[in-house]
């Protein structure tokens, strides 16, 4: 898989999403329960707003001094006998990983917790090299078994599937014969996966944060599979986006607190580990540790007007409150990063050619901005994208003309008055019983679903009333 999960037009994808009542039901009930859980976990922390501010400050500080912290991280990892590799492009990143695998003559690979490996199309590259690769997050495993169905949520990749569908996948692909209870399904997957862990030559994980002064990475999971992936195989390769770094454990603790509460409404998750090259004499942990730091377009975002998007800690909270995501689901975004943060970063990483609709798929309700634990002004970034898209003349000529006209009209009382004089008689032509039932192209979609009352006659406008009244008072 790559950043792009679906090549169809945005319209087709949303129609698909809207036409999938099952998925919408799953998404909206997940949103409703996560929202309540998140709120109570956030309140329990005391002054949530202060915590958010702290989270924001930590992320901004780290981004501002990213060079320094990445340097420190590299030194510390190497000092401990690990390897760090800075990959400029996705090809470099997955190429490096393939080279290690080839060098180790590894055949079986287990994998956990990584979106950035999707971005760099690592699975594809490794499978081409003849490896057997197993996703070990339960959600990801289900998707893999379902012929690599794309993820639809940052934290809950298989959110769009219910237990019946999961049972069907397990039955068809694995010969599962049990019922559809989540416990039994999970237990079954665990048995299969346990074997995979034991057999694996290489474990590949993502990284929630790299801790610069320790030369280690932080993994946050509820299933413990990230830890097993890192601990059992002889070789551990961790992959991170170059911005996912904190100075010390202290900042990590703050961000983990924000992350877990925002993502799943828990104070902390079941497993929070800090993993690095194992020191000599340690009995567990990999013999060989590699950290791949992926740029793939991020340095272009750094310091730009979209800098704040790099603050993201991938908690998924913005998806859990987004009313648009609620109705179209994650697949409609056509990217491994869905929802509001996806609409911001996907066009940055993948370009406007493929993703220019995403920034417009928002009512700018700002629920995402409100909830983001590190205070990314998501809705403002969407407006910035829109401005760029307009500036690059990627909107239709007709729209540009309309907006130019509207801009003039809404800035001049004289012109607006004229329009007002025209609006009511014009609307009479297309209305019935004072309601506009069918409209010109521009507002057709709106009127298809709603009744619009006619604009008032100019002499009935508010300003006319005010004028008349002032006149009366003057007499």
């Amino acid at each position: 898989m790559s950043l792009q999960t679906d090549r169809r037009e945005f319209n087709e994808r949303t129609t698909d999403g809207i036409g999938n009542p099952f998925m919408r039901n799953a998404v909206s009930s997940a949103q409703d329960s996560l929202k309540t859980r998140r709120l109570s976990a956030a309140t329990a922390l005391g002054d949530w707003e202060q915590w958010r501010t702290l989270g924001q400050q930590i992320r901004q500080h780290t981004l501002k001094h990213l060079d320094y912290y990445l340097g420190q991280l590299a030194d510390n990892i190497e000092k401990k006998g690990g390897h760090i590799y800075f990959a400029k492009t996705k090809e470099e990143a997955s190429g490096y990983i393939r080279d290690i695998i080839v060098q180790k003559k590894a055949k079986k690979i287990v994998k956990s917790k990584s979106m950035v490996t999707e971005e760099i199309e690592m699975n594809h590259v490794l499978m081409e090299a003849g490896c057997e690769l197993t996703e070990t997050d339960l959600g990801e495993y289900i998707l893999q078994m379902d012929d690599w169905d794309p993820p639809s949520h940052i934290v809950a990749p298989a959110l769009h599937k219910d237990r019946r569908q999961i049972r069907k996948v397990f039955t068809e692909k694995l010969g599962y014969t049990g019922d559809e209870s989540p416990v039994n399904l999970a237990r079954y997957a665990r048995t299969v996966l346990r074997q995979k862990f034991l057999e694996a030559d290489v474990g590949i994980t993502g990284c929630n944060f790299a801790v610069a002064n320790l030369g280690a990475i932080n993994l946050v999971t509820n299933e413990g599979n990230g830890d097993l992936t890192a601990a059992i195989p002889k070789t551990h390769i961790a992959v991170m986006g170059m911005e996912r770094i904190v100075p010390t454990l202290e900042e990590m603790e703050v961000l983990d607190n924000l992350l877990c509460r925002s993502a799943v409404g828990q104070k902390l998750t079941s497993y929070i580990s800090v993993i690095g090259p194992s020191a000599s004499g340690e009995t567990d942990g990999p013999e060989d540790f590699h950290l791949v730091v992926v740029d793939n377009g991020r340095s272009g975002i750094l310091g730009s007007e979209f800098n704040e998007a790099l603050q993201c800690i991938r908690c998924g909270a913005c998806l859990n409150v987004c009313p648009v995501y609620r109705h179209i689901g994650g697949h409609a975004y056509g990217s491994i990063y869905p929802g509001p943060i996806g609409a911001v970063i996907t066009p940055l990483l993948g370009g406007y050619d493929d993703y220019k609709e995403l920034p417009f798929a928002s009512s700018l309700c700002a629920a995402c901005t409100d909830v983001c634990p590190v205070k990314i002004p998501l809705h403002e970034q969407l407006i910035l994208h829109r401005q760029n898209i307009v500036q690059e003349k990627r909107t239709s000529a007709a729209e540009r003309l309309q907006m130019k006209t509207a801009g003039r009209l809404l800035a001049s009382q004289a012109l607006f008055g004229k329009a007002l004089r025209f609006a009511n008689p014009a609307s009479r032509l297309i209305s019935r019983h004072g309601r506009i039932a069918r409209g010109p192209q521009l507002v057709r979609g709106w009127i298809n679903a709603r009744d619009l009352s006619q604009p008032v006659r100019q002499q009935d406008s508010f300003r006319a009333w005010f004028d008349k009244r002032k006149g009366r008072e003057g007499q």
Partner: protein
């Protein structure tokens, strides 16, 4: 207290009754009202669509219109929130930045002005019925005003308020969003209508006409007998002066 009314283009063009109600309530509360005639629109439709330069014209027009006002009060949390964006938009512009800050500082949404500036929560209104309130996203989140409408509605005699499920979820209006992505918007407004009818209320109240036109338009198309009212109309209800002065047309939604 001298107050300049910002009627908003929607109220001026579609629902003048709302503007009239606002003026009458404020006058009853002792304000002296004027209406700077050169005002038109806050620039939001074009700004939110990404047409920054085209929208600056409208913004400058507004800064000029209200230059000499003490307070600017409007019936829309969304448009007032737009004023609050001006300083960011004109940051570094020597001619306009200070004017933008000045406008932001004196601009209030209608209920916010009554409660926070005038210090009043009981305006002496009464209205028999059961109502529910739609929080508009821009008023709640961008302007940061969550409480004042409820403080005022609590004091309206005879009015019973029912809580609205998922009240923080957007109704799908979003200005040009509802025109540009009508399919998604329709799903959102449908869900909102469901929540509204579930309350059993016969009136839907809000402080933003955009949302009310959107939800009201959908309710009407579905044949749901829920009446929409702007909060200014509610607060002006049973005001003896109101009858006399009303302009001769239907309220926001029949």
């Amino acid at each position: 207290m001298k107050v300049s009314i910002f009627s908003t283009c929607v109220v001026d063009l579609m629902t003048p009754n709302v503007g009239i109600a606002m003026v009458q309530v404020l006058e009853r509360l002792g304000c002296e009202i004027d209406f700077p005639a050169s005002q038109v629109c806050c620039g939001q439709p074009t700004y939110n669509s990404g047409y920054l330069e085209d929208s600056k014209l409208a913004m400058k027009n507004m800064m000029r219109a209200f230059e000499h006002s003490d307070y600017v009060v409007g019936p829309s949390g969304s448009c007032i929130a737009m004023f609050h964006e001006y300083p960011k938009i004109f940051k570094g512009d020597p001619q306009w930045e200070l004017k933008a800050v000045a406008l932001k500082e004196k601009a209030y949404e209608f209920t916010q002005f009554i409660v926070r500036v005038l210090g009043i929560t009981d305006v002496g209104a009464s209205l028999e019925g059961t109502a529910t309130y739609h929080r508009s996203c821009h008023m709640t989140r961008l302007l940061g005003e969550r409480e004042t409408p409820f403080q005022l509605l609590e004091q309206v005699q005879g009015l019973q308020m029912e809580p609205l499920k998922n009240s923080d979820n957007c109704c799908g209006f979003g200005g040009t969003f509802s025109v540009k992505m009508p399919d998604i918007s329709e799903q959102m407004v449908n869900e909102k209508c469901g929540c509204v009818t579930e309350t059993g209320a016969d009136i839907l109240i809000s402080a933003d006409m955009g949302c009310l036109l959107n939800i009201g338009g959908r309710l009407s198309r579905k044949g749901e007998p829920v009446k929409i009212m702007h909060i200014a109309e509610v607060l002006n209800h049973h005001n003896p002066a109101a009858k006399k002065e009303e302009a001769g047309h239907e309220p926001a939604n029949g």
